[in-house]
């Protein structure tokens, strides 16, 4: 419908990125995360950005879709940008007006932190865009399996992640539905001070919670009626196997990580 949510959603395409083993893809994401945190120069971050762009090109997901998927997270970028830009006072002054002081060091930090955060978002988005929730769930569960003996509820965690991703669009749809119904009864969504604003949100939030509980109840009944009982003794329809593409992908990403540690 008119409400188009891409955040955390899977986009099907026939591509080498889609075909990679989900365990490998999760590992790749983690490697790239570590690389992004270790990177301490703009050049290093640009290398990672370039790598993400190559992955997008290989995945055959339309660039517009990628932009739409990352866009809802953009507001989170405002905080590092703002704090670094205005609250770092070391370095030479570039601009000052009253209490506002922007220094070259602050501007550099602002740009650097924002780019780093953006790369993290983009990398995580690429994983969810190219991996279906079932594959992702199975992948997480397979990767956590060794930790079951230490008491980690691996199956439950992977089930929770898959359910959360599965119900994200449903939640947005419900919200849109409720918002329209209340607007048709003359609801004003944003007006007045903070307390009044919260009060105005109640007609939206109460039905949204009620509806979410209803979904949860229905899902629980559906799972129980099919005898779902967690992970013990559960076998999988899909057996993962690491192929040549997987090895190459891991090799490329690991070498980039090592390069980053050694030279950059």
């Amino acid at each position: 419908m008119a409400f188009d949510i891409v955040l955390g959603q899977y986009h099907h395409a026939e591509s080498i990125v889609h075909r990679l083993d989900p365990r490998i893809k999760i590992t790749l994401m983690l490697i790239l995360f570590v690389a992004a945190f270790l990177a301490n120069s703009f050049f290093a971050l640009l290398v990672l950005l370039l790598l993400d762009i190559v992955i997008i090109a290989l995945s055959k997901v339309r660039p517009k879709t990628v932009v739409k998927a990352v866009a809802p997270l953009a507001f989170l970028l405002i905080f590092p940008l703002f704090f670094n830009l205005f609250f770092i006072s070391e370095g030479t002054s570039l601009f000052s007006w009253g209490a506002i002081l922007i220094t070259d060091h602050g501007a550099y930090q602002a740009g650097f932190m924002t780019l780093r955060l953006f790369i993290l978002f983009l990398t995580a988005t690429l994983l969810t865009l190219t991996t279906s929730t079932i594959m992702l769930g199975d992948g997480i569960s397979a990767m956590l399996r060794p930790f079951v003996r230490f008491g980690l509820p691996a199956y439950e965690i992977s089930m929770m992640v898959s359910i959360a991703l599965r119900f994200l669009p449903t939640l947005f749809e419900d919200f849109d539905h409720i918002r329209k119904a209340q607007m048709a009864r003359g609801a004003v969504i944003s007006q007045g001070g903070p307390i009044k604003r919260v009060k105005l949100l109640l007609p939206l939030l109460v039905p949204l919670f009620a509806q979410s509980l209803r979904h949860a109840e229905e899902l629980a009944v559906a799972m129980e009626s099919r005898c779902y009982h967690g992970g013990t003794n559960r076998t999988h329809y899909r057996v993962f196997s690491v192929g040549r593409a997987d090895v190459i992908a891991i090799a490329i990403c690991t070498s980039i990580l090592i390069l980053m540690i050694v030279w950059l």
Binding site: D4, K64, K68, I178, K180, Q182, G186, A187, P203, A210
Partner: protein, 289 residues
Amino acid sequence: MSLIFDKVSYTYSSHEGDVNALSDVSFTLENGELLGVIGHTGSGKSTLLQLMCGLLTPSAGSVVLDGENLSDKKVRQNLFTKVGIAFQYPEQQLFSKTIADDIAFAPRNAKLSEHEVGLRVREAMKIMRLDYENYAAKSPFELSGGEMRRVALAGVMAAKPQLLILDEPTAGLDPSGRYELTTIIDDYHKAGTTTVLVSHSMDNIARLSDKVLVLKDGHTAFYGTPAEVFSHSEVLREMNLGVPQATTFAADLMDLGLPLPADLLTIDALADAIAALFHEQKAEVKHGF
């Protein structure tokens, strides 16, 4: 309240390119009439309804309500006091601690006096056959599905809309709940409210509507009086929409050679026609001897 759709189209963009949810739809609904809307999921019904109540504005063409164009932002302000809409499963919009508070939501948003709000709540509950003494102070979340539905609809009617839009108001109810709600809607419409009704029940559409609009893939498949629309029974069946039971039954009888009129839409009309035929034949038999 009269409602005119003039060559209305609605396009939205998704990640798969532009989508035409509605193309070139025109109809006129006079004051006090009831428009029945039929169509499958994705036929553009939901878009059509949202255009009627100003939640969406047309990409092309115009939606005119009592001479006022809804593309004008000023006209859309406070439109909720004139146009009431109940979407599918309206009970999902309930949020207040008490039923009376929930029904009072729209009148309070219209900034009516508390006295007037109280009157509106009582009136709306009476229309929806909810006993005030019994229900007013209860929580809407303690009710059965059918009762919740009626509370939600009372919440729409409390704004005293001159145009009432109902999207499958009886979906998910048991037969007695469906029957009761249909009766309430029929009575309310006959008391003078212009109504738009989306329904999957061809029997109800045929019985209640003055005009019928059939949508298919965002286009008008058929538009006219119920008799005109249901005369295309073959095409409607091909579209998996079907025709009223009475019409199907009449067609079967006609195949057996009974000379029935062509536009029988309701069970009452069919019964009358069969009775008339019976009397005619009896008279013929008498004359014959």
